[in-house]
Subunit: 356 residues, 2 copies
């Protein structure tokens, strides 16, 4: 079968011929429909994030997959079921406490592998296998957009953890700010809107006309240009934010979030930046954090419960959003286009391996 | 009656003659037993924190009080009940949503006053009045140590909010670190011990022999000298911490806490430092925060529920701790001694106004 791989020493992906995988005990064989591409894939390709499976020199890419059960192998699934796989798997030593209690998303980085990212092959192949416990069913009518379940699940977890951090008092989030107008930021903005936030904002650094600004405004959000309004000044320029979701990976934003928050607000941090030293007014930020009961929550990955929530969330999002967000679905004959860093008309791309 | 006040333009407290207060509707008249002194009082005295009541030039000090109901005024209390008052009261405009729902601790600083600290007279007087709703009953046998209810309530809230931030997953805190070996740090260390933490640590910068180090070790905690082991290096020198409680007000500690935490750990920040610019490796800290699902929670003040928990907590703490911790209880004839910054044999002091 054909697969899209990155090889050691190379800086762009290749189509490789690989053996079709055989499902082991408890595993399901899945025929791949579509696999999304995101910033993490680009980091894996350029070598700044993740790594190859132990002893191998190529990695099958892709962690945002949707497929159809080809062979259910006596599991709870049936042939033809549309499914989405989770990303984390036990490390070589076998399952640890995090996997045993269904919370692999809480495993430290060295106590798991991540399919398509770090130490395990991904889903960008005509077929993949997965233990049934790591597959989440998706309604047939969402099959086309099922590759968005994984990114939405990332935000489900971040929002769940941020809300938990405010559960010891009566917290009523009315204002939400998303830092970053990439596809994850835009999906999260849509989630905040559908969760009933009164006013939402999304930060980017694009000039109009721009398709991401169009989506922000179509979602009833307010676009904030970071070149005109630094994150720290957002409360003054707009209003303080009960919830801030950081998806830029720009390290200054992690600390500026403290200023952007309203009293009792919480910031969810999701970016994974490189080391970068800079100066902050640590005294002022520390005091601000304490005197206004603010919180910051770091969040990575997601587990089956978040995938299940993401399926429900996606079912509620408007069809126009998917049409506008997914700017390219490319076949194997045209896979390079899915990875192209693209002009500013590209928002979200996927590779299509087969059709339902 | 006599009261201990700080006057505008002065840098040390004075005993002043003030009228005995008359309880208004719903208020109770309380005869003061003891009032504790803490770092906040010293900041109020030196003028770096809080402020005078509107239009006045002197402030009655003291926010850590215990007293006996002198006149119950038809409230739920009876004469002779031992009570501890909470600290926050509605601002001049009247009660807002935070007070209405019993969470004045979550009010932004400009939506409340704080008795003995900011904008309202404190409890360092022979008598004080308080609405019954802001008084918490204390068993008679705790009357002597009742002035410790307020500081313990501060940690009850911080621990509650920190635990809430970890409630979206299965969090089992085994290791706890307290930054700061002042009286609040030592009380919190005792709380972690009695909450069942397997191993606890307390950071200070004192040479042995030292009474705070003796208390740390008597509590089965490990003393860490910050001059030998910076906070960031504690995981390597000892072990990573599931919970860190910051009570130093040293702004670098707020950010070094991220390094001291174990994966999935949470830091509670309580210090209130002055502005101070310094350099951090913001990129590395941001990534560490995200990849290991860490959290930081700022916490200030406490509400009635935290005072009630604190009463239960105090009842469980060993008597020797109070004896060792409270190094001086001074009468009005000797009140200056309670405020003296003291040598290193002073841990916690109080002023005694009357006896039960």
């Amino acid at each position: 079968m054909e697969a899209i791989v990155i090889r050691r020493g190379e800086t762009s992906p290749t189509v490789a011929e690989r053996p079709r995988p055989d499902p082991g005990p408890g595993e399901v064989l899945v025929r791949t429909l579509r696999v999304g591409v995101d910033g993490t894939d680009r980091e894996v390709i350029e070598g700044s994030h993740g790594g190859f499976p132990e002893g191998e020199d190529e990695l099958v890419l892709g962690h945002e997959a949707v497929g159809v059960v080809e062979s259910a192998e006596g599991t709870v699934f049936e042939e033809g079921d549309v499914v989405v796989p989770t990303v984390r798997r036990p490390p070589a030593e076998g399952p640890n406490e995090y996997f045993e209690r269904g919370e692999p998303d809480m495993a430290p980085p060295d106590e798991c592998v991540e399919r398509g990212i770090d130490g395990a092959h991904g889903f960008m192949a005509e077929y993949f296998t997965s233990p049934a416990e790591y597959l989440v069913p998706v309604p047939d009518e969402l099959a086309e957009w099922g590759f968005l379940v994984e990114p939405v699940s990332i935000s489900e977890k971040a929002i769940e953890h941020a809300s938990a951090s405010r559960s010891a008092f009566d917290w009523n989030a009315e204002t939400g700010l998303v830092l970053g107008n990439g596809s994850l930021g835009l999906l999260t903005l849509a989630m905040l809107e559908s969760a009933g936030y009164d006013r939402t904002y999304c930060l980017g650094r694009r000039d109009r006309p721009d398709p991401t600004i169009d989506i922000i405004e179509e979602l009833d959000g307010t676009y904030i240009d970071s070149r005109q309004t630094p994150v720290s000044e957002i409360p003054e320029a707009h209003e303080p934010m009960d919830f801030v979701y950081e998806a830029t990976g720009y390290a200054r934003h992690a600390f500026e979030t403290i200023d952007a928050l309203a009293p009792n607000g919480v910031g969810a941090l999701l970016g994974v930046p490189e080391p970068w030293e800079f100066e902050i007014d640590g005294g002022r930020l520390h005091k601000e954090f304490v005197m206004n009961n603010k919180a910051l929550v770091g969040s990575v990955n997601s587990n089956v419960s978040h995938f299940e929530s993401a399926v429900e969330t996606l079912a509620d999002l408007p069809e126009w959003l998917f049409d506008d967000l997914v700017t390219g679905v490319h076949g194997l004959d045209d896979y390079e286009a899915a990875f192209a860093d693209g002009d500013e008309t590209t928002i979200k791309t996927a590779v299509q391996f087969s059709q339902i």
